[in-house]
């Protein structure tokens, strides 16, 4: 049985992007952006996978102090036994979605993001 991770890592591109969003004043902390990325990936319906080309960024103890992240990932993906490993993958995928959104929009518009994702989902369905 595979063991879960104790750390969360991000790709080099996402690392730079996280620095940029802080610079642009969109988040107080890079972790907030990473968690939003995770939620975006789940909402987008990204299938479980494993992140590649990443470097450690956070320890899960500090990243998920209250365990909510692990709980919700485990609840949504009941067959996955390594929620942090999956979370790491989803975070990196979600940050790519966020990056695309911020290219076209000056500010973070959650409602628009949801709309965009719905449209993309419909496009994919067709």
């Amino acid at each position: 049985m595979p063991t879960d991770k104790n750390t969360i890592g991000v790709t080099q591109e996402n690392r730079e992007f996280l620095e940029l969003v802080i610079e642009r004043g969109l988040f107080n902390d890079q972790m907030d952006a990473a968690k939003l990325g995770l939620a975006l990936a789940i909402r987008q319906g990204i299938s479980p996978g494993e992140a590649t080309g990443i470097d450690t960024k956070w320890n899960v103890g500090s990243f998920d102090k209250d365990g909510h992240l692990r709980n919700v990932v485990s609840a949504i993906f009941p067959n996955v036994s390594t929620p942090y490993r999956l979370a790491e993958y989803l975070i990196n995928e979600g940050l790519i979605i966020l990056r695309r959104h911020l290219v076209d929009n000056p500010s973070l518009d959650i409602e628009k993001l949801q709309g965009d994702m719905r449209n993309e989902g419909e496009g994919q369905a067709q």
Partner: protein, 659 residues
């Protein structure tokens, strides 16, 4: 009398190539229609350029000649421009050509210094020499009175200055008015007479000095005259100095008036800059609030998934609970059935069980035992309850709407900030070359020069008083000489007396002529004004010393404040009256004079144009004067219609007007 026959322009402003307008030889009105930027003002300027060699903007500033040539022609390598004006003056035909061309050796001129100007005046087949040319041009349409022949709406507005005492512009306009009315003929003659009188006084004194009996008085007389001459030259010096200072003071005052607007602009800029600081603070606060909200945003995003999970869990829990209840009931039933089988009697009614019922009980007990074998999964139930609790805990309040509101207000603030920044840039552009300390210096100079003028005024008053006292003394000595003098002195005295009488006569004549002119101008302006105005309650125009005109209501009260439209009507009335009373007459060329007039006034002005001058050339845009209205009102008096047609932004064509 000046009458225009034809104007030819070549590469002048938007008029590319050679273009001509022919003015019909009969008196009447010629209309030239053109929308904005087609070249109406340029056409007026072409006439001005032909006569005076310069052009003016609508703001009355002189325009650099290097900017006059047609841009398209310049792009094709053709620089310079030309205007030819054909006209009659006192029945003699003339052809005036003025042209600006690049100086030899200069292929791409960029400033007026790189252009040379040629002026040619032809009379029939003869080309006049420069002196004769300038003399005739100075008579045909003197520059100082050109404002009564070539004007636009802005110039009409200036006549209001005539109502203001101490107005520099008003004084200049008054001088121009007197010039066009021919007053200088008399005032110059009076000045000459005064010189002759002074000369006669001097001769009389000298004759007295030559006679033994009158030498003492003669010496005294001469000393008084010399002293008065000194004071007169001092008075002249002071007046000249005052004039120069007044011009400076006036220029500073004008600059200060402009600086009022500048001050308003600068305070607007400061207010805008403060607004931007406040906006930036709001933006910072809202962004911080957004960042705080973003901490939990991932949780709101997952609400749909989590809600689905919670619903599924709750359904499963309900199923398990139902199963548990069913298990308990079955267990109780089995217990009762087993007891009945064991005792052989019914547990409820206590009657013995017959063999058939016993078999039924045993079958029921077997099926209940089978049911109870499927035990409720207690671990799953507990785990479900735990997961349900953690998921419910996960559901943080959704602030998507608040976030949206914050983003919208950030957008509004961004737009507001950009608008304010644009305005600041505009203001900075308008105030680019203005030094704020310069304005403060202007204020102090204005005050200082005002004080110097006051001191000069005291000096002038003092000198005038001394000159008057000396004149009285000279007169007293002359009276003494009259009693004592011999034949030689008597001859000089008669000469001086004759000069004095003539001077008094000219003095009275100037006054009388001015009064008559003013009265005639008032009468004619009133007559024209009553034709032009649509207000039936107005009775007349009243003229002041400066030829300023006040509207008098039928109840006899002067109208204290008048609109820009009324100002134009009064100014046009004055123009017409001056034309009627001037020894020098010529065409009136008006550029967009109806911009501030309503249709009622426009109709009346158009109807009255033929009364204002023999030849009227009107440059208008169609919304300002509808061609149909002009034709209806002018009928046979309308002698020609042209239109300035756009070929490109830098190329207009003069065409006969056709609907």
């Amino acid at each position: 009398m000046l009458f225009l026959h034809r104007i030819t322009v070549e590469n002048f402003g938007p008029f590319k190539g050679i273009q001509t307008i022919d003015f019909p030889p009969e008196p009447g009105v010629v209309l030239i229609y053109g929308e904005n930027m087609r070249g109406k003002t340029t056409l007026l300027n072409a006439i001005r350029y032909a006569f005076y060699g310069y052009v003016r903007s609508r703001g009355d500033h002189e325009i650099d000649l290097a900017k006059i040539g047609n841009w398209e022609a310049a792009a094709e390598g053709v620089y310079g421009f030309r205007v030819v004006l054909e006209f009659d003056y006192k029945g003699t035909p003339y052809e005036l050509t003025r042209q600006c061309r690049p100086r030899p050796g200069i292929t791409t001129p960029v400033s007026s210094l790189e252009y040379a100007q040629d002026t040619l005046l032809r009379c029939g087949a003869d080309v006049l020499g420069p002196e004769q040319r300038d003399r005739i041009l100075a008579q045909v349409l003197p520059e100082k009175i050109s404002r009564f022949f070539l004007f636009d709406g802005e110039l009409l507005q200036q006549y209001e200055e005539l109502l203001r005492e101490e107005s520099n512009m008003g004084r200049q306009i008054k001088e121009s008015i007197e010039r066009i009315l021919g007053v200088p003929v008399l005032t110059n003659a009076r000045a000459d007479m005064r010189e002759l009188y002074r000369d006669a006084q001097g001769q009389e004194g000298k004759a007295a000095q030559r006679d033994q009996r009158t030498r003492e008085f003669g010496n005294h007389h001469q000393a008084l005259i010399d002293e008065r001459t000194c004071h007169e030259s001092e008075l002249l010096r002071l007046a000249g100095e005052r004039e120069a200072l007044y011009s400076r003071w006036k220029a500073i005052e004008d600059a200060l008036k402009k600086s009022e607007r500048l001050k308003a602009l600068l305070s607007e800029r400061d207010a805008l800059q403060n607004d931007i600081i406040v906006i930036d603070q709001k933006v910072t606060e809202k962004r911080a609030r957004i960042r705080d909200l973003m901490v939990e945003a991932w949780r709101w995003l997952l609400h749909p998934q989590v809600h689905d999970l919670i619903r599924a869990m709750e359904v499963r829990i309900e199923v398990l609970r139902a199963k548990e209840t069913e298990f308990a009931v079955a267990s109780e039933k089995l217990k009762a059935t087993d007891a009945a089988i064991d005792s052989g009697s019914c547990d409820s009614c206590k009657r013995p069980l017959d063999p058939e019922t016993l078999i039924t009980f045993r079958t029921r007990a077997d099926s209940l035992r089978a049911l109870l074998k499927e035990k409720v999964p207690a671990e799953e139930f507990t785990a479900l309850l735990h997961r349900l609790a953690t998921l419910k805990e996960f559901l943080a309040p959704d602030h998507t709407a608040v976030l949206k509101e914050l983003n919208l207000s950030l957008d509004d603030l961004r737009v507001e900030r950009a608008t304010k920044l644009d305005r600041i840039e505009e203001i900075q552009e308008q105030t680019r070359n203005i030094d704020e300390s310069e304005i403060r210096k202007l204020s102090s100079d204005h005050e200082r020069i005002g004080q110097e003028i006051a001191i000069l005024d005291q000096g002038i008053q003092g000198e005038t008083r001394i000159i008057q006292e000396l004149t009285d003394s000279i007169r007293r000595v002359q009276n003494q000489l009259d009693r004592l003098g011999g034949a030689d002195l008597a001859k000089e005295r008669r000469r001086r007396e004759t000069c004095e009488h003539l001077l008094n006569l000219f003095d009275q004549a100037v006054g009388e002529y001015r009064d008559r002119l003013r009265s005639k101008v008032e009468e004619d302006a009133t007559s024209l004004f009553l034709r032009l105005t649509t207000e039936s309650d107005y009775l007349k125009l009243k003229i002041n010393e400066n030829y300023g005109l006040t509207i008098i209501h039928k109840d006899g009260v002067a109208i204290p404040v008048r609109s820009a439209g009324a100002e134009h009507i009064v100014a046009l009335s004055l123009m017409g009256a001056l034309q009627r009373n001037a020894p020098l007459r010529g065409p009136i060329i008006m550029d967009s004079p109806f911009g501030r007039l309503d249709q009622g006034h426009t109709t009346r002005v158009v109807r009255s144009l033929p009364c204002m001058a023999d030849q009227v050339l009107l440059l208008v845009y169609e919304a300002e004067l509808e061609p149909r209205l002009a034709r209806n009102e002018l009928m046979a008096q309308l002698k020609g219609e042209y239109k300035l047609v756009r070929k490109s932004a830098r190329h207009s064509v003069i065409q006969p007007y056709t609907e």
